[in-house]
Symmetry: C2
Subunit: 213 residues, 2 copies
């Protein structure tokens, strides 16, 4: 062929993860968090996000155990759900996205908040011990923390990766500073996004199964 | 409430886009590309990606016209499709993702390439005048260029946003250096991703309808 490029999936994964291992600062992570940081970096192409991960010491283990026990995964938008690799889930875990439920627009009006925040109120019955993955809306993370303050059940782990210029950095700083007794993993600052949130879920589910370790 | 944060969607969008306008270098863009760059930045939380956008001068207009004429949108993965805001599409345009078609694994074996590349071969009947949005796999972009070299129909515009450490920068550099007569918009380097690719489609479809302009 006229164009040369790497075409073998196993080789592409191996080279990708080797580049992360070579370039990223991973020394502060245990094995689980190393896998998670590697997948997060791989999802966004940015080595330096490793330096901006905030997390509670037991977060990876808690998320991994929750998935193995069959916990559902609550996502703030369809894109996060679409990025979760179903064959990696250890217990056929349910992936729940309530953002487009019919009652969400009216509820958003009623609580004077965004649709993303209103959608979080529909998580309540699933929240106890769940894996929460927020990859888009700062208001979803803020409102989850408010609901926990008001007595909502606690998830097993909160994966906080909202993105953008209004509330993203602030919501993740709030989570990291006052996690309300929850395990959490978050990317500080403006950066985040659905691909990163999905990558974090995939890491809790399976580590790095693409490479022999 | 104990937590203060911005809850009004219109205000969140307005503040977000105002931050982009204040911080990003947008002078080199016309109105269409300004809208596209703004949505791309908004999707990833990184002002500086504006400086890394490569594009052909008529790319935005060509993509906008194609969507208005009813062109389909060909995406390399489900996440890109999930991020396209359907109500913004001007002609109920079809969003096509072939990655999970049943014949893809066998075809990948046959062509000794990735599933993402094999899925591009299933685009052929839709390719003429389409909007192509690649937000994940460098091999999808490389293989699309190979197919065009072999006489495949040309899309109206190629949105090149594959991400990662193996082939992402190279495939986008190839697109920008030798676009094969195609209109294109791409983010140089390792960064990219499905949220950015979706944002580019949404910009072609509707500009920035969230703010009065």
């Amino acid at each position: 062929p006229a164009l040369w490029y790497e075409r073998a999936p196993a080789e592409i994964y191996a080279q990708s993860f080797a580049t992360v291992a070579k370039e990223a600062r991973l020394e502060r992570f245990d094995a689980g968090m190393t896998a998670l940081a590697t997948r997060v970096i791989h999802a966004c192409g940015m080595i330096e996000v490793a330096d901006r991960l905030a997390f509670s010491p037991n977060a990876y283990a808690a998320g991994q155990a929750a998935l193995r026990a069959g916990a559902p995964i609550l996502c703030d938008c369809e894109m996060v759900g679409a990025g979760i690799i179903r064959r990696y889930l250890p217990a056929g875990n349910e992936v729940i996205v309530t953002l487009n439920n019919a009652e969400v627009p009216d509820r958003a009006q009623a609580i004077q908040n965004t649709r993303s925040a209103a959608a979080v109120e529909l998580w309540l019955e699933h929240l106890d011990g769940a894996v929460v993955a927020i990859g888009n809306a700062p208001t979803a993370l803020f409102h989850l923390l408010e609901l926990i303050d008001q007595g909502a059940p606690k998830p097993a782990v909160i994966l906080g990766f909202p993105v953008g210029f209004v509330g993203a950095a602030e919501s993740k700083a709030e989570l990291a500073a006052r996690p309300r007794g929850c395990e959490f993993i978050a990317l500080r600052g403006r950066r985040g996004g659905s691909a990163i949130a999905s990558a974090a879920v995939n890491a809790l589910a399976a580590g790095l199964p693409e490479v022999a370790t």
